[in-house]
Structures are given as structure tokens and as C-alpha cells.
Amino acid sequence: MEWLTLTIDGREVSVPKGSTVLDACRMNNIPIPTLCHAPELTSAGACRLCVVQIEGMRNLPPSCVTQAAQGMKVETQNPKVRSARKTILELLVANHPLDCMTCQKMGDCSLAEYAYEYGVTGEVYHGAKRDLPIDNGNPFILRDPNKCILCGKCIRACSEIQGKSILDFSFRGFDTQVGPAFNLPYNESDCDFCGSCVSVCPVGALVEKKMVGKGRPWEVSKVQTTCPFCGVGCNFDLNVKDGKVIGVTSNPDAPVNGKALCVKGRFGMDMIYSENRVTTPLIRKDGVLVPAEWDEALDLIASKLGEIKNTYGPNSIGALSSAHCTNEENYLMQKFMRAVIGTNNVDHCART
């Protein structure tokens, strides 16, 4: 691999050829604020927050789309650069609701994080603010276009990850919006509710509806696990607060799927708490299933199976193992049938 050497903030660093200036900075732990950049998406160079100063280049180029070059001299933190970034942030904040206290994204909002870092006041520009209707018509995604900073990541996620292109910009200039064609709400569009758009939104414009009010980022622990719904084997993070799963978020390191998920994986976790869950052993007494203690239930099964085995032989007992249970459990089940009962009568619906 060919390597390039460039100077960033007076520090000499080497990066592989083909890296952008942003890559070069991130590889070397030099912080650059970004809103429209995501490693899994193409770069739009739209938010302009990642601008830097590069010797010999006119204006302040955005680092996310500027290729690193041999001998390049980059400044990422000089007053001119910081002032430009601050102005851009002031512009975004001037057109953004300041209801951070009740915003689901609080604590995980990139705009708030940078506004804080750059000392943005929200007082510099006074004027028009968007006032658009909130899209609340579906059970999965809450879309508040007033919080949208038009970074376009959701648009690119929909087209590049999901291959759907449900979302795009509409209108021009200050009136620009993001949404499905003809400004339809999500549930009237062709949206599959994969939620890829939610997973990349840097602000509170797109949030998981079921998680609203359920927990703040700092109260939540994330547990990476494997989706239980189909054979693709997507990984995601279960968000747990106070011993309860409150939702699912993408884990960018998921080996099969990255940030992509489908409607089931992302929004179907509430089945854990279904009313239909069986939460205690049940034994049929006088034709009716009634609650029982574990000891009673297991002893009953042990004695019944033992009896049938003794009377009719081990092959009079069968088991259906489960394509929903873990490998370890399936192993235990077939071992139980083969070693404990003494039969090969174990199968599962391998074919559905």
C-alpha cells in the first residue's frame, strides 16, 4: 500500500493513499466535527462543518471529500476554521427547535454536542423558523421535520443501504425538506420501515417511536446480540434500562448487516413483553391448564416420560427441537433425547 505524508496542525502523519483529509485526521485522533458524514455512506460534502484550511487551496475545503495529498499542510483548529464552523452551527441552531430538554435525542445529538463545543448561543440570527407538521402516522418512526438539519444521511441510507430511495429533498433553499415523494407521510409511502434512516440521523428528526420517553442514552446499557427473526443473522444492540429492554439500535460493527436492519429486527422487540408470554409452568388438571411450581411440573414430566419409556420403549417418545432456540439448547435437546431417553426421534421444522 502506498502511503502519503502530510502535516496536520503541525504534526506529520502518514496515511494510506486514497484517504480523505477527514480519514487522515480520524486515524490520528484529530477531532473534526461532522454532521453529514457516515463511513458506511457516500460523502455528500453538504453540511460543511468539517471544513479545514489547506495551504494553497482557495476557500475552506470540507475535509470529508478532500483527498489527502503528499506534503499537504492542513490546519484543523485555527481561528478562521473554528469561526467558520461556529457560524455554520449558529445557522443550524437558528433554524432548530430548542426543546432539547424533552427531545429524545438529548445526550446523543451531534448538533447539541458541537454547539456546546463551539460555544454557540443561538442568539446571533433571528428570523424565520420552519414550522412543519410532525409525521406521527406509523407505529415505528417519529419524524419531526423541524428538527431536521438536512444533512441528507437518511436519503443516502435509504438509497445506498436499503436500495429503496423513498426519501429525497424537496423544495428549494430555506424551504428545503426531506421526505417521501409528494410530501406523503411514511406510512402512505412505499417505506419498508427498515429504520436505516433513523440509525443515521444525527439529531432528533428521526427517532424510534417506541423509545420516546423510555430512557436517556446515559441511562441505557447496550447489549450486542443476534436477531431472532430470520436466517440472515443480523446483529444489533438491545437497549436496556433498569432491567428492561426499551428498544433496538443498530450496531455499526455488526458483521453481516452493519447498520442495516429490517422492520422486524428493529421494531419487533416488544414481543419480549407480549401479553401472550407464558410466565409460569402450567399443568393440565381436569382438562384445564393451571399454574404450577417448577418442581411439580418437572417431576411430573420426568415420571411420565420414564413411565412411557419403560412401558412402550424409548422410541415411543419424540421431540421437536427448535429453530428459534440456541445451538447450545438444540445440542442439549438432542443429547437429552439420545442419551437420556435413548431414541433418535428428534427433529425440528428444518424446512420452514
Binding site: A44, N59, P62, Q67, L92, Y125, R172, D175
Partner: protein, 598 residues
């Protein structure tokens, strides 16, 4: 008259809307009636340039110009000119200095001081006839290229000519072609950018309407030099006549074997289509334009990759504007050396300007690069309307800068104007006089750019609106002292951080007016006064009781009935300032100069 004569009637969009088309019909009838059809022909041409005086017509070969011609003048013109060989004096142009009529185009500054290369055929030929074009050396350049030159030779000739892009940025055309030529690909495109969107600019429209074949021939040469076999002309849908003439011209060129496969037996193929734009200003930006052709939302994308590497549908693509393409046949036919005699060291050739605003001769003019603004405005444009005082010239479209009087002797070329805070841009020249408020002008242009911002990048999308809002407040007398710093800081950030040229140049009207007319801003903010007496919120009208004759004309015409007084009781008229909407009607109506504005 023994000699054959032609009557060239301007049928460009400007003159057509002033009633030129019926004149052509009447002329033809009248000539028939007089039995002159053997010796006199009538031609509806493209724009002759003198829009202010339209409809115009020219009698050839004498080159006699008639202005503001009406249908009822036709019989007289035929009778006098064609039968008697005399002038119809009342329809001739009056020289502002001598106040005498001038008949010959050679004696009219508007024409005499121009040098027409691109407009060589405009206003002279019938743009709907390929034979008119070929009769004036048309398609000789592509013939020469295909028969005598390799693609490299053609490219080299354009490089040597020093031609730079006429769309605004002024990038060397040959160099641009070379990049595209150098990118290996199975398919390349060339595009003609005819999405002329600057308010007041109509250079490209005029060329397309008046000489469409020159654009096609330029593109043929470009395609040959670059190695492209397909091209698009992206023309805004608001130019129906241009689109019509292009359609006719493409069909004729195909039938004549100049477009299609195996052109002139050379084995070179080139197919050309017209694509109608949907009215977004930003689609004049080449990457947005290509997105639009691809059927996507017209939004610019970051460069690199440049279109020469990855353009239309990911293929190497070269985009030039109408005027640039139209220069090319002349360069090939007459040679780079000939071309370089015009212009300055770094800006070769000529430039067409659309002269508009408070100038006497509004219209379309082509001058060598390096001509001074003063020559264009005062010699060709014949100075300021109504004898008022020149204040500024806005050059380069909505994103250009406003230059004050002391910069009138600047030579117009790419580098000089950029240094001065303006730009050649596509070539709009808007002349302003003392009644123009420079804050309001900045506000006007920002209103345009904020509406036309595509919304992709933050600084342009949000920033142009904030700049507009600040300017709007200032013109209403609600400006604050710190607004100027905020405005300047915002303008510089937008200039340095926006994605495309639209955003990067959107603050120019503000930066230039802040630089040259800062006192006007300060007057609005500190004194709540508009020095040009233009910003209505800052005006106050009063009636001088001494001068008031109590005729009541002001009160009768006041639309909001805010003027009271009574002759019977000898009470002079008074304006109620709370109710006054500052329309100025009272001042216009007063015969005694009793109403004053401050």
C-alpha cells in the same frame, strides 16, 4: 434600384414582444403590392442587439437602421427607402450629443464600437435556414477539422487561442477539453449549458435564437477533439424560441450530414439532443445540470471527481456554455493567431454583455475583452437615462459585485474584475443611477439567490436567508450597528464554505456594496435615512405650507386619504405621517413643488 436589397427585421424575443412579427407580414405584403418582390427580400433575424429601440430593422446593403418601427410605418419605409431611396427621418436614431438623426449603422456608436465575432450572424441571417449559415462560412470549420486536422490538432488550436469559458468562471477551454480527452472511457459526453438564469442576462438566448448552427458546429468540433459521440444542449424551458430554433437547426444539420453517423464521410459520429431545464437557477452549475439530465433533483455535487473524469451517468463529460461553443468555429476557421489579436493578455477574444438598467441603450453588445466599463456604458450604452448621475454597475449577475464610479475605467477581463470584487460572470451589466439604493439592491439580489439556493449545503441554504433578513431589516430602518459585522462575517463564511459557485458567490453583492457603499448602510442604520430616497419605510413626505396653493390635487390623489387642508379656511394641506404609505403620488401630482421628500 438595380441592386438587390434585404430588409432584416429583428425577430428575437425582445423585439417580437414589442410587435416585430406582424411587421414582417406587413412588409412582405407591401413589397408585393409595390411589385418589388424580385429585388427585395425580407428576413426575420435573431437579436440585432438594440433592444431599447426595438422593434428594429436594417436595410441592406446600405446598413440603414430604423428603430421603434410600427406596422403603420411600413408603407412609408418601403415608399421612401426602396422606391425613392430616401430616409424616413422620424424613425432614425437621434444622436444624443448632436440631437441629429443618424441613419447608417457605421455612424452609430452602439454598433460602431462593438466587435462582433460570436454575434457575427446574429441579426443578419435567418436562423431557421441552414443555407443562410453555410452562405456565411458555416460548417467550414468542422469540415476543415475533419479533413485537415487530427483531434489533437483541433484541441491544440483551441488551447492556443486562449479561449476561456464564457459561463462565468473563465476556465481555459482547451485545458478543460484536454482533461476530458485524457480520461479513457468507452463513452464520453459533451454538454452545452444553455440554462442562462441570471436576471437581465440574455446573451445565450440571443445566440441560440439568432445563430443556432454556430453552437452546433462548436459542439461538433469539441466532440471531435474530445472523442465524444453524444451531446446535450441543456436549455431552460423559458426559452421557447431558442428551443424551437435549435430543433430546426439540429434537424437540418442531420439532414445535411453534419450530425449523425459518419459525418462528412469521416467516420466521426455525433448525436445531439436538446434537454429542457425545469427552471432551477442552480442547474446552470454543471454538476447540478448533469444530475438534472439524469432525471435526479438538480443539486450540485462535490468535485472532485470533476465531470471530465466522472460526469453524466458517470462518464467523462465536458460542459461549456453557449457563447463558448459559439466562439469555437471562428477560432478553427480563422486560426488561433487571428483570435488572440482581440482581448488582453490573459483574456482573449470578445465578450457579449447584456446591457440593462438605467442606461440609455439597453441591449446586447459584443466587445473585445479589455474594453473599459466606461466605454461600454457611456459610448455604446450612451450614458444614463434622464441625464441622472451614474452610481454603480452590477456586473456578473446576481452573484456579481457592484462597482462604483471610480472603477469605471477598469478593463473588463476575468482577472481585473475578480480582483475588484466583481466578476465577468455570464455577462449581465445592470446600470444603476443615483436613485438606486445599494442596500436595497443587495437585498434584491439576495432575495434571488436565497430562493434559488438548492438547499444542499448549510451555509448557502441557511445563510442566504439570514443575510436577506438582515438586509431587509436595514432597509426598513430596523438595522442595528452590529448588523454590519454580523453580515460581513456571515458573508465571508458563506463565500469560503459553500459547496458550489452559487453559494460561494452569493454574498458578492453584499461584500461589494459594503466595500464601496458602506456609508449607505450606515445612513440606513444610524440616521434611518435612505440616501437614494428609495426605501419607502425610511422616507417622509411633507408639504411646504408656504408653497402650497391649496389646490387639493394631492389630497384627491392620495390613495389612503391622509392629506387634509382647506382652501376656504385658508388651511394649507398637511400629510398625516402615521397614515402615509410613502407612495409619492402627492409629490408627483403637485404642480408647485410644495411636497418634499426626506
Amino acid at each position: 434600384m438595380a441592386e438587390n436589397q434585404r430588409i432584416l427585421v429583428c425577430a428575437g424575443t425582445g423585439c417580437a414582444s414589442s410587435g416585430a412579427l406582424p411587421i414582417i407580414d406587413i412588409l412582405i405584403d407591401e413589397i408585393k403590392r409595390q411589385g418589388l418582390e424580385e429585388t427585395v427580400s425580407v428576413v426575420g433575424t435573431g437579436c440585432q442587439g438594440f433592444c431599447e429601440k426595438g422593434p428594429t430593422l436594417v436595410i441592406e446593403p446600405q446598413q440603414i437602421l430604423y428603430t421603434r418601427v410600427k406596422g403603420e410605418d411600413v408603407a412609408e419605409i418601403i415608399e421612401q427607402e426602396l422606391v425613392k431611396g430616401e430616409r424616413v427621418e422620424r424613425l432614425l436614431l437621434v444622436d444624443q450629443e448632436t440631437q441629429k438623426p443618424v441613419s447608417s449603422m457605421a455612424d452609430i456608436n452602439f454598433f460602431a464600437k462593438q466587435h462582433r465575432i460570436v454575434l457575427h450572424n446574429c441579426g443578419v441571417i435567418d436562423p431557421k435556414k441552414i443555407e443562410d449559415y453555410t452562405a456565411r462560412e458555416g460548417y467550414k470549420a468542422i469540415e476543415k477539422a475533419l479533413k485537415e486536422m487530427s483531434p489533437e490538432d483541433a484541441l491544440e488550436e483551441v488551447k492556443k487561442s486562449g479561449l476561456r469559458g464564457r459561463g462565468g468562471a473563465g476556465f481555459p477551454t482547451g485545458l478543460k477539453w484536454g482533461f476530458c480527452r485524457a480520461t479513457p472511457s468507452d463513452k464520453k459526453y459533451i454538454i452545452c449549458n444553455a440554462d442562462e438564469g441570471d436576471p437581465g442576462a440574455f446573451m445565450d438566448r440571443s445566440v441560440l435564437e439568432g445563430d443556432p448552427h454556430s453552437v452546433i458546429e462548436g459542439m461538433l468540433i469539441g466532440a471531435y477533439a474530445i472523442g465524444a459521440d453524444e451531446g446535450y444542449i441543456y436549455c431552460r424551458a423559458e426559452y421557447p424560441l431558442a428551443i424551437k430554433h435549435l430543433g430546426i437547426a439540429i434537424k437540418q444539420a442531420e439532414e445535411a450530414g453534419y450530425l449523425g453517423d459518419n459525418i462528412l464521410g469521416s467516420g466521426f459520429n455525433f448525436h445531439l439532443k436538446v434537454f429542457e431545464g425545469a427552471g432551477a437557477f442552480v442547474c446552470g452549475e454543471e454538476t447540478a445540470l448533469m444530475a438534472s439530465i439524469e432525471g435526479k433533483r438538480g443539486m450540485p455535487r462535490v468535485r472532485p471527481p470533476f465531470p471530465a473524469v466522472s460526469g453524466l451517468w458517470g462518464k467523462p463529460t465536458n460542459v461549456n456554455n453557449v457563447e463558448t461553443w459559439s466562439n469555437v468555429p471562428h477560432i478553427l476557421r480563422k486560426g488561433a493567431e487571428w483570435y488572440t489579436q482581440f482581448g488582453t493578455e490573459k483574456s482573449k477574444g470578445t465578450k457579449i454583455f447584456a446591457l440593462t438598467g438605467k442606461v440609455n441603450n439597453t441591449g446586447l453588445v459584443e466587445v473585445p475583452m479589455g474594453t473599459t466599463l466606461r466605454e461600454i456604458i457611456f459610448d455604446i450604452g450612451d450614458g444614463i437615462q434622464g441625464g441622472k448621475k451614474f452610481k454603480a454597475v452590477q456586473i456578473g449577475g446576481p452573484s456579481g459585485g457592484c462597482l462604483p464610479e471610480d472603477m469605471l475605467d477598469l478593463a473588463v477581463d476575468y482577472d481585473t474584475l475578480t480582483q475588484a470584487g466583481a466578476m465577468v460572470g455570464s455577462g449581465g451589466l445592470v446600470i444603476m443611477d443615483e436613485t438606486t439604493c445599494m442596500v436595497d439592491i443587495a437585498r434584491y439580489f439576495l432575495n434571488f439567490t436565497k430562493k434559488e439556493s438548492c438547499g444542499k449545503c448549510t451555509p448557502c441554504r441557511e445563510g442566504t436567508t439570514r443575510m436577506y433578513e438582515i438586509l431587509d431589516r436595514i432597509t426598513k430602518g430596523e438595522g442595528k450597528e452590529e448588523d454590519l459585522d454580523t453580515l460581513e462575517n456571515l458573508a465571508l463564511t458563506i463565500k469560503e464554505t459553500s459547496l458550489c459557485a452559487l453559494g460561494q458567490s452569493a454574498p458578492n453583492p453584499i461584500l461589494a456594496t459594503l466595500k464601496y457603499f458602506r456609508h449607505e448602510y450606515e445612513a440606513h442604520i444610524r440616521d434611518h435615512k435612505c440616501p437614494a430616497h428609495n426605501c419607502s419605510a425610511l422616507l417622509s413626505y411633507t408639504i411646504d405650507a408656504e408653497k402650497c396653493k391649496m389646490c387639493s390635487l394631492c389630497a384627491k390623489n392620495c390613495p389612503v386619504n391622509c392629506i387634509t387642508g382647506d382652501k376656504k379656511t385658508n388651511t394649507p394641506y398637511v400629510i398625516d405621517e402615521d397614515k402615509c404609505i410613502k407612495c409619492g403620488t402627492c409629490m408627483d401630482k403637485c404642480k408647485f413643488g410644495a411636497v418634499t421628500r426626506a
